[in-house]
Symmetry: C2
Subunit: 269 residues, 2 copies
C-alpha cells in the first residue's frame, strides 16, 4: 500500500490463495492487480516480498526460484529469522539477493483490510543482514521501510530471534496459555457462571494477542523453538516462585517481586 501510494514501483502484483483478500487489496489500493499463479507473478519481478506464514517460505522459494530474474531482491516480513534466513539464502539461486526484514507492527488482525498507510509509522523494522547480504539490496529495503515511516535497524538474525522470542513470542504463548487455563478453571471452579463475562480491562489487554492467527504463531513457535523453550523455562521459574510466596502468604516478598516488575514495566512506554 505504501509502495503504491508513494509510487515506488511501476506495478505491484499481489500473489495469493484467497481471491477475496486479493480483491480487497485492489479495492484498498494496496496492489495494482493480482494473480493466483505464482509463476505469473514472479516472472519479471524486481522485488518479491514474502508475507506468508514462515513455514511456507521453503516450499514457496523452491516453487518459484526457477522464474526469478537475475538481480531480483527477495525480502520478507516474518517474525522469525535465525536459521530461516540461512535456509532461504541457501535455496535462492546465485545472483538473487535476499534481505530478511521484520517490521514490528500489526495487531491480532489478519488480512489486507487490517493494513493501512500508517501501520508501520513510528514502528521499528529490523533488517537481519548476514555475511552474504548484498549492501545495495540492504540499502533499498531500508529505504522502503523508511518510506513507510519506520525506524530501521539491523541485527544478527540469531540475536533477532532471542530478542523477539523474549518480547513477542513468549508473551504470545503466555496469552494463549492463560486463556486455555481460564477454560479449565471455568470447568473446575466456576461452572455456575460464565467467567468471561466478568473480565475487565486487565484481562482484555493481557489476552488480546491470544486472538492472533494460530497458523502464523504455530510457525513462529516451531521456527524459534529452542529459544522459546528456554524462555518458557525462565517464565515457569518466575511463576513457580510467585506461587510459592503466595502459598506461604509471604506478603513482604510478594510485594518486593511485584515492585521489581513494576519498576521494569514502567520503563516500557
Amino acid at each position: 500500500m505504501v509502495l503504491k501510494h508513494e509510487q515506488m514501483a511501476d506495478e505491484i502484483v499481489g500473489i495469493g490463495r484467497r481471491v477475496q483478500n486479493l480483491k480487497t487489496a485492489v479495492d484498498l489500493g494496496a496492489i495494482h492487480r493480482y494473480v493466483t499463479d505464482s509463476q505469473e507473478g514472479i516472472r519479471g519481478a524486481d522485488l518479491i516480498v514474502l508475507a506468508t506464514p514462515v513455514d511456507t517460505y521453503e516450499r514457496q522459494v523452491r516453487e518459484w526460484r526457477p522464474w526469478l530474474h537475475p538481480g531480483a531482491i527477495v525480502t520478507d516480513v516474518g517474525s522469525v529469522k535465525g536459521t530461516l534466513v540461512e535456509r532461504v539464502e541457501q535455496l535462492l539461486p546465485s545472483g538473487i539477493r535476499f534481505v530478511g526484514a521484520h517490521p514490528i507492527a500489526g495487531r491480532e488482525k489478519i488480512g489486507v483490510a487490517a493494513g493501512s498507510l500508517t501501520l508501520f509509522r513510528q514502528a521499528r523494522c529490523i533488517l537481519t543482514p548476514t555475511a552474504t547480504t548484498d549492501a545495495v539490496a540492504l540499502q533499498q529495503i531500508r529505504a522502503m521501510w523508511e518510506k513507510a515511516g519506520s525506524t530501521v535497524l539491523t541485527m544478527d538474525p540469531h540475536l533477532h530471534d532471542r530478542v523477539l522470542g523474549a518480547v513477542s513470542h513468549l508473551p504470545h504463548v503466555v496469552a494463549f496459555g492463560l486463556i486455555n487455563a481460564l477454560t479449565e478453571i471455568q470447568r473446575r471452579a466456576t461452572p455456575e457462571v460464565d467467567l468471561l463475562t466478568y473480565g475487565g480491562g486487565g484481562l482484555r489487554d493481557t489476552t488480546r494477542i491470544a486472538a492472533s492467527s494460530p497458523e502464523m504463531w504455530r510457525d513462529i513457535c516451531v521456527w524459534n523453538k529452542d529459544n522459546l523453550v528456554s524462555m518458557l523455562d525462565d517464565f515457569e521459574e518466575q511463576i513457580r516462585h510467585l506461587k510459592q510466596l503466595i502459598k506461604n502468604g509471604d506478603g513482604p516478598s510478594i510485594e518486593r517481586e511485584f515492585e521489581r516488575a513494576k519498576t521494569v514495566r514502567e520503563r516500557l512506554r
Copy 2:
C-alpha cells in the same frame, strides 16, 4: 466524586494518610473536606467506604469501631471478598450494617487523580451479601453504584473470589511474572541489547497491569491465596503442555491449542 456531584450526601469527608492526595481530592471535587484522624471522620458518619489495601481492613475496623454511630453502613471497594467479608462482619458491633462491594473498574493507576466521574460507567459492580446482610443497606449501596453508572450484580463472597481470582488476580500474577522473566532473559540471553526497547504493542498490552500497585496486589494475593494457588497450578499445566508441544515441534497440536484459545478470546469483548 459521584456522591458529591450527584448531591447524594450532605458532606463527604476524606480520611487518609497522604495529605497531598487528600488535598487533590478536595481540588478535584471528590470530597468536601479531609481529616487525617479517623476518629474525627468516623464520628457521625452514616456511610463509611473502605478504600484501602484489603489487608488493612481488620486493623482499621478495630481502630474506629468504637466511634461508629448506630445504623451506620460500612461498605468497601476491595478486590477480594470471601473470608474478608466474614471477618469484617464479625468485627463490627451489632447495629452496624456491612455490605461488601467490588466495582470492577480502574486501571493500573492509583491515587485520586486517576479517578473521574465516568470511571465506573458501564462497569460492573459486584455486591456480596451474606446471610446477615441488611436488605435496606444492600439496596442503598446498589443505588449508589447505579448512580455511578455501573451495572450492579450480587454474588456469594466465595464465588466472587473464584471468579475474580480467575479473570483478574491470575492475570495480574502472570503479568508480574512475565516481566520478571524478561529481566532474567535479558541477563541470560540478550545482555548486548536493551530488550524492552524492542517491545511492541503485544508486550505493552500483555504486561500493562504489571505496573499496578504492589501493595494492593500483595494483599489481594494473600487474601485469595487458596484460589490463586490452584489457578496458578492450572495455568502452569497449560504452559507446560504448550512448552512440550513446542519442544516436539508439533505444529498441528500447537495450532489446535492456539485455535482453542483464539475461539475463547474472541468471545471476550
